[in-house]
Point group: C2
Chain length 331, copies 2
């Protein structure tokens, strides 16, 4: 059998085979897969939990696939909250007709990403849905992480004068998936930035002036900027020339009429920090391979000020909030 | 706006509105919805984790909907593991075009089920997928529960002579959904049995002879019986006349050619117990409203024996294992 059938989801023999052969190696304790729930033994610290659903078209793209994306995404939500991911659960909604070799590649991507991030997959469930549903595969993951007690990272701590930094160029993931999807025939050298951001967050947690971190995924940097303005009560001035965007991403966006500031990243961190520690934060990031492209990109302003983008030519423009669907659907 | 649009999933303003108006009331601390991860504070005990995906057609049926089903299913996987559910995370894959009033009813069902089971929803994520995908709505939930340390419930503890009991009639859920789905025009008085089984499991946890519990969901009682034979290494003899099946369920199955032993339950428990405590277990269950229909349904036999069904007429038949897809797809 080379493709998924509905019988792979009926609770019987074929489902048992699918799980034993393909999914079992993913799990830290495969023998627990026959259990209804698994025991969790966690190190000391504050327990953090996050959950995320993943849909991406195509399922595989330069730099990753939906499996590695799901692991990274969950690890990253914990990382930007100041926690280290420890255990993950995995739900797969698999479409009837999905090729087993593709599912194998996706599971391999997941296993690799989990190993790199040092996280165990402790429980899982699979459902098979009829042909035509689920675009091949949807994943949902829940992550449990441990945070040093007492750590406070909230947007409410941000004050005027605080600086905003990003750990690398924005829009790589969104553009890579868009190119893979639409087969525009444009240069395919661009890779998704999808990766664990834990090294980046870990490196700056000891900065006493660190206020808040977030990974700019769905809706991109612009959407995080709006969230920061809403959550902090401050205004925010972004320096357009300071925001790192790869030339390929810029060209593709120019051609297609998209704004890279709204495109998803899957391996970047945005951090708000006290002005006097902005340089130190930048140096710590730039010292890491994942942070070599880090940059200072903005500054918080007085309450009541708007979110403005200081343009290349010294002017200002307002950054609109995503409302209807102006973007390529990549997730 | 009366229906879900793709813009409800783009990370922008409409998504924020959807979450604030519809989903926020579900959560124990709605203000945490703007965070990437939530802190969890748990009572003492062994930490247990489980995860499950939910797809059901139709999304609403007599006795519940996909929302209440997801909560009960997760609470129940923890309950049969000997744990009490404490916190849940929720993922929703919503199809473009889903009616908002239907989504509201489903969310209300979820809220009610969570309140009844005493469980908090602590984190969540929503994705909107294009029209034609996701059959309206898929849900994935992860549950964290607490178990009394030292409790051992494994199939490996089962020995020949142990008894098997079920907490009530089987096949109600499967039949109710099938009737709702196919609109056979048959009597609609049958309700799904979907409910929290925690009162049932809690009532028998102190029995020292309790070996193992499971809720017979996908694949029904017959599939659990096969798992028990494989996992225990024992044979198993089921008494066909002892297995409670409602007359309506039996009639519908007779007409349509299904075997109720393979139909899903969503509010029943199957328990394996030492022979000398079988009566005590039965009494404890029958003393509860959820367990009034409980029955002794079988007995484990020597290793190497088969799974056999002792028929009404005193004969024996083998119970096949679910292999291809002989059943109405209800989940």
């Amino acid at each position: 059998m080379t493709h998924i059938t509905l019988a792979h989801g009926n609770g019987g023999k074929r489902m048992a085979q699918l799980i034993e052969t393909l999914f079992a190696p993913l799990y830290s304790e495969p023998q627990l897969l026959q259990c209804d729930a698994a025991a969790l033994s966690l190190p000391e610290g504050e327990l953090m939990i996050t959950t995320d659903g993943f849909t991406v078209k195509p399922l595989e793209f330069p730099g990753g696939n939906i499996g590695s994306l799901a692991i990274h995404g969950t690890v990253n939500d914990l990382a930007v909250s100041g926690a280290r991911a420890h255990s993950l659960t995995l739900n797969a909604f698999i479409e009837e007709g999905l090729e087993l070799v593709q599912l194998e590649r996706i599971i391999a991507g997941m296993a690799r990403a989990a190993a790199e991030a040092g996280v165990s997959i402790v429980a899982g469930d699979t459902k098979v849905v009829p042909r035509g549903d689920a675009n091949g595969l949807y994943l949902a993951t829940t992550g449990i992480g441990i945070r040093q007690p007492g750590l406070q990272l909230t947007m409410q701590q941000i004050v005027p004068g605080d600086r905003l930094l990003v750990s690398g160029p924005v829009g790589d993931h969104g553009t890579a998936v868009m190119l893979a999807r639409e087969q525009f025939g444009l240069s395919g050298e661009l890779c998704s930035d999808a990766a664990s951001v834990h090294p980046l967050t870990e490196a700056i947690l000891t900065l006493t002036g660190l206020r808040f971190m977030r990974d700019p995924t769905r809706g991109g940097l612009a959407t995080v900027a709006h969230e920061l303005v809403r959550g902090s009560g401050c205004g925010l001035r972004l320096y357009e020339t300071g925001i790192p965007v790869r030339q390929t991403v810029r060209s593709v966006c120019d051609i297609l009429g998209y704004d890279p500031l709204f495109l998803a990243c899957e391996g970047r961190v945005v951090a708000a920090v006290a002005a006097e520690q902005a340089d130190e934060l930048l140096q710590r990031w730039q010292a890491l391979p994942q942070g070599s492209g880090a940059a200072l990109i903005g500054e918080f302003t007085a309450p009541g000020e708007m979110l403005v983008l200081e343009t290349e030519l010294g002017g200002e423009r307002l950054l609109p909030e995503l409302e209807d669907e102006p973007l390529p659907r990549i997730c």
